[in-house]
C-alpha cells in the first residue's frame, strides 16, 4: 500500500496504517512524510514499511515486529522502548535513539544525536543492537544495561568531530559498545576503559555488521578493515558502594 | 609474611585485643560464655601500659625464632610454608625455655595447665581476632 503523507496530520496517517494492517496489509510505502509522529508506534505485526521524507518523533516506539526503512533522516526518539523488529535509517538520526530498547535492530547510516542507546537492555533471548555508521553525541550508551551498540564513525558529515561525545557508557552496567578505531579514554564515563576484543566479540561483531552492511549496501570488508575497541561495564553494580545502609 | 604490628601512637589501652584473643581461643567462641563459664585462659598478646604510653605486644613469628631453638620437646615449630611459629600444646612440657628465650616476652605461662600459650595468628580467621577487635586500628595485620 502506498500513501502520500503530504499534509496529512499524524493521527490520521497512523489511523490509515492501523486500519490497513487490520485488513491484512503487510507492505507500506509512505511518501512525502515530514514530521508525522509515532509512525509504526506499538505495531506488533511483522509488516514492512518504507518511509520517504523525515518521519517525526518516536518513530517505531514500542514496536514489536515491523521492519521500517527510512529513506532520509529521522528525528528524535527513534525506536523508543522497542522490542522486536528493525529500523533502518539511511540518513541521520536525532537524540535518544533506542531508549530502553529491549530487542531488535536499529541501523543508522549517518550520524546520531545525544543519549543514543540510553538504558537499552537485553532480556532472555532478546539482544537489542544499534549500529551507527556515522558519529554519536554525548552520553552514548548511558546507563546501558544490556545489548550492543556499534559505532563506526565512517559516514559522518563532520570529519573533524570526534567519533563520540563525552560520557560514553556512563553508568553502564551491562552490554557492550564496539567502536571502530580508537576511543579517547577521556570520552568515557567514570571507571571505563577501552578494551581489546576477544574471539567471541569478533564473531558477534561480524554477524551484526554483516546484517547492517546488507541493509545499507555497504562493503563489509571496508568496515572490518580497521580494528575495533570495546567498552564494557567495570561492574554490574557500579554504584553499589555509594550508599550507607 | 603478614604479622600483627602494633601502633603505639594510637593504642588506647582498652585491652579489647586481649579480650578478643581469649574469646577466639575459647571453646565456645562466645564472649560471655568464655568469660563466665569456661576456664579462663590468658590472652596470647601482652598489652603494656606505662603512663600515657600503651601498646600491645604480639608474637613476631621471627625468622630465626629463639623459642623454636630452645624448645626441648619440639612443641614450637615454625611452619616453613606460612612462617607462622606454632605451638603444639600436647607436646609442651612446661619447661619455660621459650619464656626465657623470647625477646618480646610474649610467650606466657599457663600455670594451670603447665604449658605455655602463644599467638597462632588465629588460623580460623582471615584477620586475627585482636586486629579486628581493635577499635582504633592500632593493630595492623600486614606484610612489612
Amino acid at each position: 500500500m502506498e500513501i502520500n503523507a503530504q499534509g496529512i496530520y499524524y493521527k490520521d496517517l497512523n489511523d490509515i496504517i492501523r486500519k490497513a494492517i487490520r485488513n491484512g496489509e503487510e507492505n507500506f510505502i509512505l511518501r512525502n512524510v515530514n514530521g508525522q509522529r509515532y509512525i509504526a508506534d506499538g505495531i506488533s505485526k511483522k509488516i514492512s514499511m518504507e518511509v520517504y521524507g523525515v518521519p517525526g518523533q518516536d518513530l517505531g516506539a514500542f514496536m514489536k515486529g515491523p521492519r521500517v526503512v527510512v529513506h532520509g533522516n529521522a528525528q528524535d526518539g527513534v525506536g523508543n522502548t522497542m522490542d522486536v523488529g528493525k529500523i533502518v535509517v539511511e540518513g541521520m538520526a536525532g537524540d535518544v535513539v533506542g531508549y530502553g530498547m529491549r530487542g531488535g535492530r536499529i541501523h543508522i547510516k549517518g550520524d546520531a544525536g545525544y543519549r543514543v542507546g540510553i538504558h537499552m537492555k537485553a532480556y532472555q533471548d532478546k539482544i537489542p543492537v544499534i549500529v551507527i555508521g556515522g558519529k554519536a553525541g554525548d552520553f552514548l550508551g548511558e546507563y546501558m544495561a544490556g545489548g550492543v551498540i556499534i559505532l563506526l564513525g565512517m559516514f559522518s558529515q563532520d570529519a573533524a568531530k570526534p567519533i563520540a561525545g563525552i560520557f560514553m557508557g556512563t553508568g553502564m552496567h551491562g552490554g557492550v559498545i564496539y567502536v571502530r578505531g580508537e576511543v579517547d579514554p577521556h570520552q568515557l564515563g567514570f571507571g571505563l576503559i577501552p578494551k581489546e576484543l576477544d574471539g567471541e566479540d569478533q564473531k558477534n561483531l561480524k554477524i551484526y555488521l554483516k546484517e547492517y552492511c546488507d541493509d545499507l549496501d555497504i562493503d563489509l570488508r571496508k568496515v572490518l578493515s580497521v580494528p575495533f575497541k570495546k567498552v564494557v561495564p567495570f561492574s554490574h553494580r557500579p554504584y553499589g558502594n555509594m550508599y550507607a545502609y | 609474611m603478614k604479622k600483627v604490628y602494633a601502633r603505639e601512637d594510637v593504642c588506647i589501652g582498652c585491652r579489647l585485643c586481649e579480650i578478643a584473643c581469649i574469646v577466639e581461643h575459647s571453646i565456645s567462641k562466645d564472649i560471655i560464655r568464655a568469660f563466665k563459664q569456661e576456664e579462663k585462659r590468658p590472652a596470647r598478646n601482652v598489652v603494656e601500659e606505662c603512663g600515657p604510653v600503651s601498646f600491645s605486644v604480639h608474637c613476631r613469628h621471627c625468622d630465626e625464632p629463639p623459642c623454636v631453638q630452645v624448645c626441648i620437646s619440639g612443641a614450637i615449630v615454625k611452619d616453613p610454608a606460612t612462617g607462622i611459629v606454632n605451638h603444639i600444646p600436647e607436646k609442651c612440657v612446661g619447661c619455660w625455655s621459650c619464656v626465657m628465650a623470647c625477646p618480646y616476652g610474649v610467650i606466657k605461662r599457663d600455670t594451670d595447665r603447665g604449658k605455655v600459650i602463644k599467638c597462632d595468628l588465629c588460623p580460623d580467621r582471615d584477620l586475627p581476632a585482636c586486629v579486628s577487635a581493635c577499635p582504633n586500628e592500632a593493630l595492623l595485620y600486614e606484610e612489612k
Binding site: G7, N34, G35, G56, N73, D76, D95, D111 | -
Partner: protein
C-alpha cells in the same frame, strides 16, 4: 509584591528561526508554515514571533510594542512615555479577527527616541540611549499594572499572544510583514494559562529570545540580574535570557560566542583539559558569570539586528536542528519544520550541546531590501 515573590512560569515548546545573511527579506508565510509543522509541541496557550527588518521607515527609532489590559493602563503608559521619551509615531498594531484568538489586550506600537540630556526633561541623565530605553521598559513593566512593553528594539518587533502560533500569526497579519530574520515559538505552558505577556518571544531592545525548555536556575539568574537593575516581572523564566543577553553582550561587551558560553559553559573536566589561555578564560567566565549559567533543559533562538543564534543547554536536553541553503540558515526543534519550508537544504545538522550556531549578517548586507521571497508551499499543517 516582593521581588522574590515573582514566580517563573514553566513551559515546553517548539521553535523555529530563519535568517537571510544577505538581508533579503522573507515574508511571514515561511515562518508560519515552519512553526505550524510543530503544532503538537504546543498546546494553544501561547504563540509568538519576532521579526527583524520590518520597520524600514522607522529603522532608527525604538519601536515599543505595548499590550494593555485596559485604557487606564494604556493611558498610564502613554503618560509615562510623554514624561520620558519623545514619541515620533504611534499606531494600533494591525490585527485581523481569528476565531481562535479571544480576549486580546489593547495593542499599540510607538516609535520613539529617548529624550537627550539638555532637552526638555531628562529623567535619567547620563545613561546611554539603550540604557535609557531599558530603564523605561523596566519602569513600565514593573510599575504600571496591566500594561506591558513586549518589544522595544529598532526595526524589529515581537508579536505574541495566547493561541497556537499559526492563529497568532493570522491575528497579527504577519503574512503581510517581511523581514530578514524571523523567529517563532509554539508554547506549552503548564501553570499560568492565558497570559499574553507570557508568550514568547521575550525581548529587550532588539534582543529577542524564544525558548524551549525550562531554566531551572531561574531563581539565581533573576537575583543576579536584579543586582544590575533588571526586574523580572513577566512570570516566566525565559525573560531572564533576554536581560542576560542585554547585560552580558551589550553592557559588558562580551562577544556573542562567549555570552553563549556563559549560558552553557563547558564542564570543569573539559576546562581542565584546555590550553592555559582558554582555561583561564573559561574559568573566569564560570567564576564571574556563574549566576548567569542557564541550567536546565533548553534550546533557545535569540536574534538581534545583527544575527540569529541557536543554542542548546550543555547536556542537550532539548533538541535543535540547523540547516543551510544559500544565504539562508534555518533552525528549528525538528528537522521537519525546516523541510516544510526548505525541502532540499544543502546541509542539515544537529548542533552539539552548548555549542552555539551563530549566524551574523554578511558585511554590506542591506537590511532594507524590498524584494520579498516567496515561501514554498507549506507541507506540514
Amino acid at each position: 509584591m516582593k521581588s522574590w515573590q515573582y514566580q517563573k512560569d514553566i513551559s515546553g515548546c517548539g521553535l523555529s528561526g530563519i535568517i537571510n545573511k544577505n538581508g533579503e527579506r522573507i515574508t511571514g508565510e515561511s515562518i508560519i508554515c515552519s512553526i505550524a509543522c510543530q503544532h503538537d509541541r504546543g498546546n494553544g496557550l501561547g504563540g509568538g514571533f519576532a521579526a527583524y527588518g520590518i520597520y524600514p521607515d522607522f529603522k532608527d527609532h525604538y519601536a515599543l510594542h505595548i499590550m494593555a489590559d485596559n485604557l487606564d493602563a494604556l493611558h498610564a503608559v502613554e503618560g509615562f512615555l510623554n514624561q520620558t521619551v519623545s514619541v515620533v509615531h504611534q499606531e494600533k498594531i494591525p490585527t485581523r479577527p481569528n476565531k481562535y484568538i479571544t480576549d486580546p489586550p489593547i495593542l499599540r506600537r510607538y516609535f520613539i527616541e529617548p529624550v537627550k540630556e539638555g532637552d526638555r526633561i531628562c529623567r535619567w541623565p547620563g545613561l546611554s540611549d539603550d540604557d535609557y530605553i531599558v530603564r523605561v521598559v523596566m519602569n513600565v513593566n514593573r510599575d504600571i499594572k496591566g500594561a506591558y512593553i513586549f518589544s522595544s528594539g529598532k526595526n524589529m518587533g515581537a508579536f505574541k499572544g495566547v493561541g497556537f502560533p499559526e492563529d497568532i500569526a493570522d491575528f497579527y497579519r504577519l503574512d503581510e510583514y517581511s523581514g530578514y530574520i524571523w523567529t517563532a515559538h509554539n508554547r506549552f505552558p503548564t501553570n499560568t494559562p492565558g497570559w499574553w505577556g507570557g508568550a514568547h518571544p521575550f525581548t529587550i531592545l532588539d534582543w529577542s529570545i524564544v525558548h524551549n525548555g525550562e531554566i531551572s536556575s531561574y531563581g539565581i539568574n533573576k537575583r543576579y540580574l536584579e543586582m544590575f537593575g533588571y526586574h523580572c516581572t513577566l512570570l516566566t523564566d525565559t525573560e531572564v535570557v533576554a536581560y542576560l543577553l542585554d547585560l552580558i553582550i551589550r553592557r559588558h561587551g562580551l562577544p556573542v560566542e562567549l555570552a553563549c558560553k556563559v549560558f552553557a559553559p563547558p564542564f570543569w573536566q573539559e576546562i581542565d583539559r584546555m590550553d592555559k589561555e582558554a582555561k583561564r578564560l573559561f574559568t573566569a567566565i564560570r567564576m564571574v558569570y556563574g549566576s548567569g549559567l542557564l541550567n536546565g533543559p533548553f534550546a533557545i533562538l535569540f536574534a538581534y539586528n545583527g544575527g540569529l543564534v541557536g543554542l542548546n543547554d550543555r547536556v542537550k536536553l532539548r533538541p535543535l536542528v540547523a540547516a543551510v541553503k544559500g544565504d539562508t540558515v534555518y533552525m528549528a526543534s525538528e528537522e521537519s519544520a525546516i523541510r516544510a519550508i526548505c525541502p532540499d537544504p544543502e546541509k542539515v545538522w544537529a548542533p552539539k550541546a552548548g555549542e552555539p550556531v551563530i549566524v551574523t549578517m554578511d558585511k554590506g548586507a542591506s537590511t532594507t531590501k524590498k524584494q520579498a521571497r516567496l515561501s514554498p508551499a507549506c507541507a506540514g499543517a
